[in-house]
C-alpha cells in the first residue's frame, strides 16, 4: 500500500486511541469524586502532568482546578492532546484514506467527530461528565469494532492495529503514572483504604477492575502494577499491547518472530524481551515513576523506528 496512506491509517488509529485514553484518565478522578466525596480536595494537577503538557497549561490557565483542567483536556483546540484535537486529527487522517477504510468505519469516526464538535457538547460534558466521557470511550470502541468487522485484515488493518496498540502501551503507562502523582493526605494512608480507593479508580478507568479481580482478588498495589504492566492477556496491559504491536509488525514484513530485518523489529523485540524477564520487584526497586518514564521513552523510540521503516521512503 502507499506509504502516505499507511502513515495516515496508523496515525488515525493512534489519535483515536489517545482521545479514548484522555477520557479514561479523566475517569480516574470522576471515579474518585464518587468513591470518596468527603476526602478532601480533588486533585486535578496530576491529570495535566502525566500528559506532559503541564507547561502549556500553566502558561494559559489560572490554576489546576476541575473546570479548567477538564476544558484543557477535553475541548481546548490549542492543546494538541485534548480529546477535541485528537479526534479532529484522527478524522483529518481518516478523510485522506476514505477509500481505504470502510464506509461504516468512516461514518463512526465522523460521528465521534460530530459528537465532540457539537455546539452543545461542552455544556453536556459539564452537566453529566460521566456520560460524556463514557460516550467518547464507547464510540472509540465502536470505531475499533466496526473496523475489525468491516475492513479486510490485510496491510491497512495491521498498520491501524499497530498504531492503536503502540499508542495504548504508552497511554497505559501514563494512566498508571497518575497514581504516582495523586497525593495522599498523609504517609499513614499508604496501604490504607484511601490508597486502595485510588488504585481501584486506576483499575476501573483502564477497564481492568473485573479482569484483575479474577486473577488476584484483593486490591494490592504490587499486584496491580504487575497486572497492568506484565499481564500477557489483558488487552490494555503494556506487555500485551506490545506483543500485539509486534504481531502486526511481523505480519506486515513477513519476518519470523524473534528475528529482525529492520530497526522497528529490533527495537520492539528487545523491549518485549526485556519485559518478558522483568519482575515487579525490579520495578519497585527502581521506583515506579522512574520505570514508567524509561518505558515511555523506549515506546517512543519504537514509534520513531516505525516511522522510519515504513513511512519516510526517500524520494
Amino acid at each position: 500500500m502507499l506509504s502516505r496512506v499507511a502513515n495516515s491509517v496508523y496515525w488515525m488509529s493512534r489519535y483515536i486511541e489517545r482521545a479514548e485514553n484522555v477520557a479514561r484518565m479523566v475517569g480516574v478522578n470522576l471515579q474518585l469524586a464518587i468513591d470518596m466525596p468527603r476526602h478532601g480536595e480533588e486533585q486535578w494537577a496530576p491529570m495535566v502532568k502525566v500528559t506532559g503538557n503541564d507547561a502549556d497549561f500553566e502558561a494559559r490557565y489560572p490554576g489546576p482546578d476541575r473546570d479548567p483542567v477538564l476544558w484543557f483536556l477535553t475541548f481546548d483546540a490549542q492543546n494538541p492532546d485534548s480529546i477535541l484535537a485528537c479526534v479532529t486529527r484522527a478524522r483529518e487522517n481518516a478523510r485522506t484514506v476514505r477509500e481505504i477504510i470502510s464506509s461504516e468505519m468512516w461514518e463512526e469516526i465522523n460521528r465521534l467527530y460530530l459528537y465532540v464538535h457539537a455546539p452543545e457538547a461542552p455544556a453536556e460534558a459539564a452537566a453529566s461528565p460521566f456520560t460524556f466521557y463514557q460516550e467518547v470511550k464507547r464510540r472509540s470502541h465502536l470505531i475499533e469494532g466496526t473496523k475489525n468487522e468491516t475492513m479486510p485484515h490485510s496491510d491497512a488493518w495491521h498498520f491501524s492495529r499497530m498504531g492503536r496498540f503502540l499508542e495504548r502501551a504508552d497511554q497505559s503507562t501514563r494512566i498508571l503514572d497518575v497514581k504516582y502523582f495523586l497525593l495522599l493526605p498523609s504517609v499513614d494512608e499508604v496501604g490504607r483504604p484511601l490508597d486502595d480507593l485510588q488504585w481501584s479508580a486506576v483499575l476501573r478507568s483502564i477497564s481492568a477492575l473485573e479482569a484483575y479481580r479474577k486473577v488476584y482478588g484483593q486490591i494490592l498495589a504490587r499486584n496491580i502494577i504487575e497486572y497492568l504492566l506484565f499481564d500477557r492477556d489483558f488487552p490494555r496491559a503494556v506487555h500485551r499491547c506490545l506483543t500485539a504491536t509486534q504481531e502486526s509488525l511481523h505480519t506486515l514484513t513477513g519476518t519470523p518472530m524473534r528475528r529482525f530485518r529492520n530497526e522497528s523489529e529490533r527495537a520492539l523485540g528487545r523491549l518485549v524481551a526485556d519485559l518478558d524477564y522483568t519482575r515487579v520487584d525490579d520495578v519497585l526497586n527502581e521506583g515506579l515513576h522512574e520505570f514508567l518514564d524509561r518505558l515511555q521513552q523506549r515506546i517512543n523510540e519504537v514509534g520513531d523506528d516505525v516511522q522510519k521503516t515504513f513511512f519516510s521512503i526517500p524520494p
Binding site: M1, L2, S3, R4, V5, A6, E92, R95, T96, V97, R98, E99, I100, S103, W106, E107, N110, R111, L114, D155, L252, F310, I313, P315
Partner: protein, 476 residues
Amino acid sequence: MDFDGYRCDGFYDEMFLTDGEPRPEARALVDRIRGMAPGELIRRHEDAERALLRAGITFTVYGDDAGTERIFPFDIIPRIVPAPEWDRIERGLRQRITALNLFIDDVYHEQRIVRDGVIPADVIYSSQGFRPQCVGLSPPRNVWCHVTGTDLVRDGDGTVYVLEDNLRCPSGVSYVLENRAVMMQTFPRVFEGLQVQSVADYPSRLLRTLEDVAPEGITRPSVAVLTPGPGNSAYFEHSFLARQMGVELVEGQDLVVSGGRLQMRTTKGLEQVDVVYRRIDDDFLDPEWFRPESLLGVRGLMDVYSRGHVTLVNAPGTGVADDKVVYAYVPEMIRFYLSEEPILPNVPTYLCWRPDDLRYVLDHLDQLVVKAANESGGYGMLVGPHATVAERQDFAVRIAAKPRNYIAQPTLALSRVPTRIGDHFEGRHVDLRPYILYGRDIYVLPGGLTRVALRQGSLVVNSSQGGGSKDTWVLG
C-alpha cells in the same frame, strides 16, 4: 404537505403541467406525497440530511473560513425525466461527445476544421485550454474526453439546450450516487413500481472505461485516481470514486517517474501505474511541461505520457473545447465531422470579439447573461436582469477591455421543480448535468446531477453560490 398551494408562476415546471395538474410521468409520485401523514415528509427530509452529514458527504467552500465543510443541500423532491425525452437527450449527448472528441483530436493534428474555414485558428490558439505541448500526441483509441459532465437547461418553451460541455474533470457524480442511496434509504416505498433507472453501476462503468484506454500491451492495468489532496473542494468525490472502483487514491507526492514509467511509493517499494484518472488541471500535472512551480503533479509524468507508457484521463489539452467561444462552434463541428444536424441545440451565444456582437451585448447588458470564456463554477458571471447598474457598468468596462474573454447569452427562463421550503413547496430553477463516459464506446449515465438554485428567483445553481441538488429519475 401537499401541492394545493403550489403555483407554476408561468414557468415551465418539470412536475406540473399547470397548477394542480401533474405531468403524466409525475402523477404516481405526487399521489404518494399527498398520501403521506402530516409531518412525515419533513421528518424524512431531516433524516436524509442527517445521513448525509454523518456520512461526511461534504464539500469545501473556497473563499469562506479556511477549510469549512458543508453538506451539499439536498432536496427530496426528485426531478423526473420520462423515457422518450431521455432517449433524445442521450442520443444528443452521444452525438455531441463524438463530435467534440473528433474536434480535439483534429486540433492537435491536421486541423482540418481550421483549413476548411469552419473555425478561425485564432479562436483555438487563444483558448486557455489549448496546450501546444500536446500537438501530435495520440492517446489510446484516439479518445481525449473520457469523462464529460454536460450541463443542460430547459427554457420556458420546453426546449432543452446545452449550456456547457465541461470536458475537464467535471465533478458531482458522487452526489448523484449518494443522493440516490439516501433517497432509497429514506423513501424506499416511493420507488416501488416506478421503474426508476439505476445509477449504481457508474463506478464499474468508469473503471471499465479507464481499463479500456490503458497503454497498448498492458493486459491488467493498474489504475489510480490522482487528487490535489484533502484541501480540494471535490476531495470527497475523489476518494469516493477510488473506493467504489477499488483503486488507489494518490497525490502527487505518492508518485515518481522511474525507469521511464510512472510509479507509486508503497510500503514495499515502487509499483507501476498505467492509467491515471487525474482530478487536477493540466497546468499542475508536470512542472517540466507546464507550470514550473506546481507541487501537485509529478516531474517527468508528461514524458512518460508522450511515449505512451501511461494514460491520462481526460487527456491533457482536452480543455481547448471547454472555452465558451469554442462552445459556440459545436453545432458547426457536428455538421463538419458527422454530417448530421445537432440533436441538442446550443443556447444562442454572442461572441464579444465580433464587433457586431460586442455592440449588441453592451447595449443589452440588462437582458443578457455574460460569462467569462474560461471560467467555470459560476465565477466571473453577470446575470444582467438581476444585476445592479454598478455591476453592469463594471462588466461593460471589463468586456470592452478584453472582448475575447466574454460571451453573452439571452437570460433563459430556466425550468423549475417543486422544492421544499420550510413547510411547503415552492418552484425553484434547475439545470441537469448528465455524465458521459468514452472508452471503447460511449455510455451515458441515466440521470445525472440536478442542481437547484435554492434562493427564490435565482438562476445560479452552483454549489459555491447557494445551490443544492436533487435526485434525478429517468423512467425506464
